[in-house]
Amino acid sequence: MDLALNEEELKRWSDHIPLMWKYTAGIAGERFLQLLKQGTLQASVCKNCNKLFLPPKIFCKDCFAQLNEWRDVSPDDGFIYSFTSLTSGDGRRTVVLVKFDGVEGGLLGFFKPGREEPKIGMKVRAVFKPKQERKGSLSDIQYFEKI
């Protein structure tokens, strides 16, 4: 464009957009997190596809059935599917993606701090925070530790 203004004539406008949200956990999420608060892990079950989902869903993404049945998953039956380390203000923390045998999906959480190094395939258990500290949130699982 031959009409371009010289540099000091070009302007910018600055502003900000503050945003705030409150999310519900949903039908599956509400039940899942309330159970987590009790120290229980449950997955929803698709009987058509013979699958368990964690975190639980109210529907099967494959056959699109409504899922009304839930089943206990033992917090001791996890294994590390993948992990990564992050360094932030409060030091180094290891994030693990933990899967459970026969269950589709998995849970994100932290690996127990200490000398033990995580390994892919390592058997782990979910350790819950003390009952009075639980809020109905994924962070009610304090960490995963090697069995």
């Binding site: 464009m1 004539e9 070009l10 302007k11 406008w13 900000h16 945003l19 705030m20 519900t24 949130s137």
Partner: protein
């Protein structure tokens, strides 16, 4: 309603449950900061507002003087041709009176707002601004002639707010 499906799904959360937190809620907030380049046409428009003038762009094919100015004519789909200074007077195309703010909360004082067709631009060409120095709400009319009230030159920054408001002529 369907012959095969006898009820509509969905579970309502009451306002009370939402406020009291008897249903689980996760809260997040953020403050997104932006700095937008104004582009050629709006940069010039803002610079001229600082000079106390309103500027438009002319398209030589459709002969329209466009306000707010743009470097292309959306009708002819070609570059516009020249800068044209308009007057700082105009006509109220439409107006309304705002009692609520951006977050739907009540304003202390109602705000008079209008689309003002600018004299010297083509018919129907105008922009959004505020009205003030209104004696009574009944005084405001579609078709009312108005004039820009400018900030003091030293206070102008090259902003749409360099025009404080428009007032009845």
């Amino acid at each position: 309603m369907s012959e095969r499906v006898k009820f509509f799904p969905g579970r309502e959360v009451s306002a009370e449950a939402f406020q009291s937190g008897s249903v689980l809620l996760t809260e997040y907030s953020t403050d997104l900061k932006y700095s937008w380049a104004s582009g050629v046409a709006i940069s010039k428009f803002l610079n001229e507002l600082k000079n106390g003038k309103i500027v438009g762009r002319k398209c030589n094919r459709c002969d329209r003087i466009l306000v707010p100015p743009r470097m292309f004519c959306e009708e002819c789909f070609r570059l516009t041709d020249s800068w044209i200074y308009t007057k700082d007077t105009g006509t109220v195309n439409t107006y309304s009176i705002a009692y609520v703010g951006t977050d739907a909360s009540r304003l202390k004082e109602p705000l008079y707002i209008a689309v003002i067709n600018i004299d010297g631009a083509s018919p129907g060409m105008g922009f959004l601004h505020l009205l003030n120095e209104i004696k009574s709400e009944k005084e405001i009319k579609v078709g009312m002639k108005v004039r820009a009230v400018w900030k003091e030159q030293s206070e102008r920054t090259g902003s749409i707010l360099d025009i404080k408001y428009f007032k009845p002529l």
